[in-house]
């Protein structure tokens, strides 16, 4: 705890000196008397100055929250000696919005008194933050002397991308061997009726279709379609980012990837993630809530990192890309490396769907609206259209992804695309 003298203390010393000097020069006692309140203030402040002692603890309601959710922070202060004026500043994370209470506390505590202050804030953008580096300033009652200290009770927390919910079901083209929610083309154990075939030794009597057997004179049994799950790998292009903070391409991509992964995981599918860009990270496909949080952790850290080393999708281990997995690539197609990676996966026979965002719409929001910028954005859009056309020519399924539209429309488009391929 460091002791400091305020600017006012120095001001008072100057006033006292000048007044006494003037009094001596002019031989006037009145001028001395003007300085008397200031002299008295300085003497009283030094006389009554005592070392304060306070105990502070800091707690937060959770270590994980989603964009826009409120985080409650409570600060407990206990005075072990009189603290006439206590200022506590708990700095908010960058971009955080205060929702309730105040993170800048001013209070007065008597010896042994305990007070609890709480406030809540929300963070509109995915990120990792640290809280608990509080700055405490304890003034003595004069206000001429104060003590300052930094109290570190560090607490880390993560703000995950918010996953917008949607109802439309996306059905992958291929199913895997594990039990899931999708009706497989293969027959086996299930509840969905599939076909009727003649009875074979070993078939269960429960499966006999009595009506068909009576009509044909031979025993027939019902067959059921298997219910299986699928493997889905979400691949996000993080070579470039653009747009405003909170609504940038990577933020929107993280939210969409989070929503898609949640939808697939609730359908008992295995979901993996590849972040292909400055950060080249991948996540083994998995199921359940734990996998959902693993994906969110990765999406939270997603950012553009300049790297000079050449990266290739072939570096991804085969386990990450299971055979017949549905690969959903999210990209603005600004970097040719991602385009090459998608073509490579498509050529390897993976069921690939590309969601492509137009960068010009997001860039238009942050640049000045003048003919030069408009022309530049039009050229950018034309170049992108050219790229998309060349990709469509080789048969790569590409969908236009508009972040303003609800995800149900996107899911419906993916489903329609899969149905067209199936037919």
């Amino acid at each position: 705890m460091n002791k400091h003298f305020t600017f006012r203390y120095i001001t008072y010393l100057i006033i006292i000196s000048v007044c006494l000097f003037a009094a001596a020069v002019l031989s006037r006692i009145e001028i001395t008397l003007i300085s008397l309140p200031f002299l008295s203030a300085v003497v009283v402040s030094l006389f009554f100055d005592k070392t304060p002692c306070i105990d502070i603890s800091h707690s937060i309601t959770g270590q994980r929250l989603f964009e826009g959710d409120n985080l409650n922070v409570s600060i407990k202060v206990q005075a072990l000696a009189n603290a006439p004026l206590v200022e506590i500043l708990d700095p908010l994370p960058r971009g955080a919005q205060l929702k309730r209470g105040n993170n800048d506390i001013v209070t007065s505590l008597k010896k042994g008194e305990e007070k609890v202050f709480s406030y809540s804030f929300s963070v509109p953008r995915r990120a990792r933050f640290t809280l608990g580096g509080m700055i405490i300033r304890i003034h003595n009652s004069s206000g001429l002397i104060y003590r300052e200290m930094k109290h570190k009770d560090i607490k880390d927390f993560a703000v995950y991308p918010k996953a917008p919910s949607f109802k439309e079901d996306i059905r992958p083209f291929h199913t895997q061997v594990n039990v899931g929610n999708y009706v497989s083309r293969a027959m086996g154990e299930g509840i969905e009726f599939g076909d009727i075939r003649p009875y074979a030794p070993g078939d269960s009597i429960k499966k006999i279709n009595w009506k068909a057997s009576a009509r044909t004179g031979l025993l027939h049994v019902n067959e059921y379609a298997r219910e299986r799950n699928s493997d889905i790998v979400l691949m996000v292009d993080s070579f470039r980012d653009f747009g405003t903070a909170g609504d940038s391409y990577l933020d929107l991509a993280a939210r969409t990837a989070a929503a898609l992964s949640f939808q697939f995981l609730t359908g008992k599918n295995r979901v993996g993630l590849i972040e292909f860009g400055g950060r080249f990270v991948w996540l083994l496909p998995g199921m359940g809530t734990r996998q959902w949080y693993r994906i969110l952790e990765n999406l939270t850290d997603m950012e553009v990192k300049e790297r000079y080393a050449t990266q290739d999708i072939t570096a991804v281990p085969p386990k990450i890309l299971p055979p017949q997995a549905l690969i959903i690539a999210i990209t603005p197609f600004l970097d040719s490396r991602f385009k090459e990676a998608v073509i490579d996966l498509f050529n390897r026979g993976f069921d690939t769907v590309t969601l492509s965002l137009s960068p010009s719409e997001l860039i238009r929001r942050i640049v000045a609206d003048n003919p030069k910028n408009r022309a530049a954005l039009d050229i950018l859009e034309m170049e992108r259209e050219n790229k998309l056309m060349s990709l469509r020519k080789i048969g790569l399924p590409i969908l236009r992804w508009d972040p303003q539209e609800p995800l149900d429309l996107l899911a419906r488009s993916i489903r329609a695309l899969q149905q067209r391929r199936a037919s």
Binding site: T6, Y9, A24, S40, V42, V44, I145
Partner: protein, 171 residues
């Protein structure tokens, strides 16, 4: 309310000074002091208040009656207390508390202000009743150079010594 105190106090001090010595310069300095304090209150800058307080003190010092007349002890003390309160209240409002604080929080500050004002009034009583004549004679008797250099040097060095003595890292 506090803005009114910050703007009103220099006006009251200026009006008192003008009654002591009515003149163009006194009025100009009084208005300048009030203007500086208003600027400090409007822009929330403490330095403007310090400048306004300094102008009020200078105005009072120049407007004092001639040395032949009896000294205006209580007027000087009142001016000193007024300027002191102006700087204290202004500091609290501008620097220390950027948002409203409860009366209980401010109670310790009020106690301190009261203690300072009462102690200086008491000290003046002491000076007036016991040692005023002695002090006056003494002030007149010391050499000019000692007064010019010695007094501010002693006050400044004592203040700085106390500051360094007190400023140490505590556990």
């Amino acid at each position: 309310m506090i803005r009114l105190v910050i703007i009103g106090l220099p006006l009251v001090l200026g009006a008192y000074t003008v009654t002591l010595s009515p003149g163009a310069w006194t009025i100009i300095l009084a208005l300048l002091s009030a203007a500086l304090c208003t600027a400090g209150a409007a822009s929330r800058r403490y330095s403007f208040l310090v400048a306004g307080a300094g102008t009020a003190i200078a105005n009072f010092a120049t407007a004092m009656p001639s040395p032949d007349t009896p000294p205006i002890i209580w007027g000087a003390l009142g001016t000193g207390i007024g300027v002191y309160l102006l700087l204290e209240v202004g500091y609290d409002w501008i620097t220390a508390f950027r948002r409203p604080v409860g009366s209980r929080v401010y109670a310790s500050r009020l106690k301190y202000l009261l203690l300072s004002v009462v102690s200086c009034i008491g000290l003046t009583f002491f000076a007036v009743t016991i040692s005023y004549n002695f002090l006056l004679r003494l002030t007149g008797s010391i050499p000019f150079w000692a007064a010019v250099i010695g007094v501010p040097a002693v006050v400044g060095s004592v203040g700085i010594l106390i500051m360094f003595w007190q400023k140490k890292t505590l556990p």
